[in-house]
């Protein structure tokens, strides 16, 4: 069975990477350029001595006319997006999906807010409180292409989701996983400027590792900077094991979802060259990591031995799947952004994890280079609560890799009832309330798979159709 799941996942990944459709359409045009040139050379050589003069006086002038034509072909390649939707990650928190009163997954809105102690320290799940959100749905690698059906009715798309994970609740055998999930969607656009708003009925089906169908309707807002918000009313029917029609599950749900690095094109945008595409963000990045020195007693990863001093690298901070969206003030240099995860591991007792933290910043380009100075303030409310202010300097090193210099101050609580004592004993001791901390740090690191935009790349003030 494991081999089968592995095989299916490999196939799904290949489908996602190669795809029946492609992500970029290339149009190649040949231009024949013709250049003509005519050279006229006149030469008069006066011969010495007498000449015989006749009726027509003989002239020594010679005229040479040279015509030259050069033809050369110039090949122009234009690239266009070829997809309706291309998304990296979507998380949905489900309401009312619990089957037979099974406990909630305790992951809250968007299904993303996992408890730190349950996730990392095997703490027992708290089932004492009733929860509004029962379960979670995750999608990784969402692709959609245009579907030309019903007399080219707009808004139809079909797609593949590389991996889908559905947990209606925390019950045993209530988990459905799909690889290479086929999806059919029809978008009814309510708002035709960015961020788009649409009502989207959908139907999807997965064959393996679980066999299920998923159908419903969503109200979508996005994308802007790859960020989308969705409300769902849907149902799922399926069996946890592929083609084994036992323990079938059916549950309806209401859901609230968010997706990051999830880009949506309307049909007309498929005819706009990539270089003319409309951008709303200053920066998009998949992974950032900064090694830091902080004013902490013990390093995050390496407890101090007696008599040992704190190492020069005391921890690291990082972000996963981030978007920095331009706001229409201060020449669009004031931004609002978020990340899927913002992690601050400054010291053994000074750590925090923020899921979908809100981050305000100001983008400053001091020179005409790819150097960006960005003072920022970030706040997260779960699973750790913290306020994080600082600055960062980012410079492009190569395509999709940037160098980061970052410094900041963090004040908050870890959000964990497990705490390492200062002697570095593991497993951690259990404390009543999450430990509060504050720390200052400075460090350097790298951003991977990132795209930094300049002011002229932003869509604002250009009269683009979706502004």
């Amino acid at each position: 069975m494991h081999r089968f799941v592995f095989f299916v996942c490999v196939i799904a990944s290949l489908l996602f990477c190669v795809g029946c459709g492609t992500y970029t359409r290339v149009e190649k045009d040949i231009y024949t350029i013709t250049e003509t040139d005519t050279t006229v050379a006149e030469r008069v050589t006066n011969q010495p001595g007498d000449r015989d003069n006749g009726v027509i006086y003989p002239s020594s002038r010679t005229i040479t006319t040279t015509r030259k034509m050069v033809q050369r072909d110039s090949v122009a390649e234009r690239t266009y997006p070829n997809f309706i939707r291309l998304g990296l990650f979507e998380g949905i928190g489900t309401i009312g999906s619990s089957i037979n009163g099974a406990p909630s997954t305790n992951t809250g809105i968007f299904g993303l807010f996992h408890d730190i102690d349950e996730t990392f320290f095997n703490a027992e799940k708290d089932t004492s409180k009733s929860r509004l959100f029962s379960g979670e749905i995750y999608r990784i690698g969402v692709t959609e292409w245009r579907l030309r059906i019903f007399d080219e009715d707009p808004g139809w798309s079909w797609g593949l989701t590389a991996f889908e994970f559905i947990r209606p609740d925390d019950g045993e055998n209530h988990t459905l996983t799909g690889a290479g999930v086929l999806t059919l969607r029809k978008r009814f656009y309510l708002k035709n400027t960015i961020p788009y708003a649409a009502i989207t009925p959908f139907f999807s089906a997965a064959l393996a590792p679980s066999t299920y169908t998923h159908f419903g309707v969503s109200a979508d807002l996005g994308s802007i900077g790859g960020v989308n918000l969705r409300l769902y009313a849907a149902g799922v029917w399926g069996v946890p094991q592929a083609f084994v029609f036992k323990n079938a599950l059916f549950f309806p749900y209401l859901g609230i979802g968010i997706s990051l690095f999830d880009f949506l094109n309307k049909e007309e945008e498929l005819n706009v060259e990539w270089k003319y595409h409309e951008h709303s963000s200053w920066d998009l990045s998949i992974a950032e990591i900064v090694a830091v020195k902080a004013n902490v007693e013990e390093a995050f990863l390496r407890p101090k031995e007696p008599g040992e001093s704190t190492p020069i690298i005391s921890g690291f901070v990082g972000r996963l799947v981030s978007a920095t969206i331009a706001l229409p003030v201060l020449d669009y240099r004031l931004t609002l952004g978020t990340s899927l995860v913002s992690f601050l591991g400054l010291g053994l007792t000074e750590f925090a994890i923020g899921i979908l933290p809100l981050r305000a910043s100001y983008i400053w380009h001091p020179f005409q280079t790819d150097l960006v100075i960005e003072p920022f303030a970030e706040g997260a409310f779960a699973p750790s609560k913290f306020v994080h202010v600082g600055f960062r300097a980012q410079m492009t090193l190569a395509e999709e890799v940037s160098l980061l210099l970052q410094g900041g101050f963090v004040n908050g609580s870890t959000g964990s009832n497990a705490a390492f004592n200062t002697e570095g004993k593991r497993p951690p001791i259990i404390i009543d309330d999450p430990r509060s901390f504050s720390a200052v740090y400075f460090g350097f690191g790298f951003s991977f798979f990132d795209r930094m935009f300049s002011r002229k790349d932003l869509r604002y003030g250009k009269g683009y159709p979706h502004e």
Binding site: C20, G21, E27, D29, I30, Y31, T32, I33, T34, T36, M69, Q71, D73, S74, A76, R78, I99, N100, G101, W145, L147, R148, I149, D151, E152, W158, L160, L182, T183, L184, F203, S204, A205, L207, Y212, T213, F215, W237, G238, F245, A248, L249, F250, F251, N271, V272, E273, Y276
Partner: protein
């Protein structure tokens, strides 16, 4: 509590019903077929003409695909307000010849030395030959070129455009419109648009490379 139990047993019934199972499998099959057919047919806005000749033509519908009907290997109709672009790959200079039939009240514009790709065609229509019932105009030359030509509705006529380096030679309905010098580079594409409220038929387009005779 009783309500919740009733709800859960209802869900269990729905989940285990053979009809639901069959319905779900049918739906999955339907989605698979849709996906695979969408994959197979690809881009419906492109078409091929003259496939069995030495110079096959690749076409592209510029607006709604429903506005163009490719009804034979060498013929198509274009509805009002729509357009097509076509090319024989690699041929830039040479002669393109095609037969049109216009309905009353229509006019056709043939663009040469441009491409159908948005950034250029919107800003640079190339050399445009606009054909109306009694006159053919060519732009963008100064002074403007306007030649009276008698074209009858529903009567086929031939348009020939020969690109040869810096020269373009245009014939419409056996009338020589002119030979014009231009510095625009030659391209592979010819774009044909129906301007007014009627369709036209385009039959037997052919590209000939330069210096060839058949």
């Amino acid at each position: 509590m009783a309500k919740a139990t009733r709800m859960n047993s209802c869900r269990a019934i729905i989940a285990q019903t053979p009809i639901m199972r069959g319905l779900a499998i049918s739906a999955m099959a339907l989605v698979t077929v849709l996906a695979v057919s969408g994959c197979r047919t690809g881009d419906l806005s492109t078409f091929d003409l003259q496939r069995n000749t030495s110079w096959p033509i690749e076409g592209k519908i510029l607006d709604s695909i429903d506005a163009v009907d490719v009804y034979a290997d060498n013929a198509l109709t274009v509805a009002s307000g729509s357009g097509v672009a076509f090319r024989t790959k690699e041929i830039t200079d040479g002669l393109v010849s095609m037969q049109f039939t216009m309905l009353p009240g229509n006019s056709i514009t043939v663009h040469s030395r441009t491409t159908p790709h948005s950034d250029t065609v919107l800003q640079d229509p190339g050399i445009s030959v606009t054909i109306r019932n009694n006159v053919v105009t060519v732009s963008p030359f100064t002074p403007s070129v306007s030649v009276p030509v008698n074209i009858q509705p529903n009567v086929p006529f031939i348009v020939e455009i020969e690109n040869d380096g810096r020269w373009i030679d245009i014939n419409v309905a056996c009338t020589h419109i002119g030979r014009f010098e231009t510095s625009r580079p030659s391209t592979q594409w010819v774009i044909v648009r129906s301007n007014d409220r009627a369709s036209f038929t385009l039959v037997d387009p052919k590209f000939h490379p330069p210096f060839t005779e058949e």
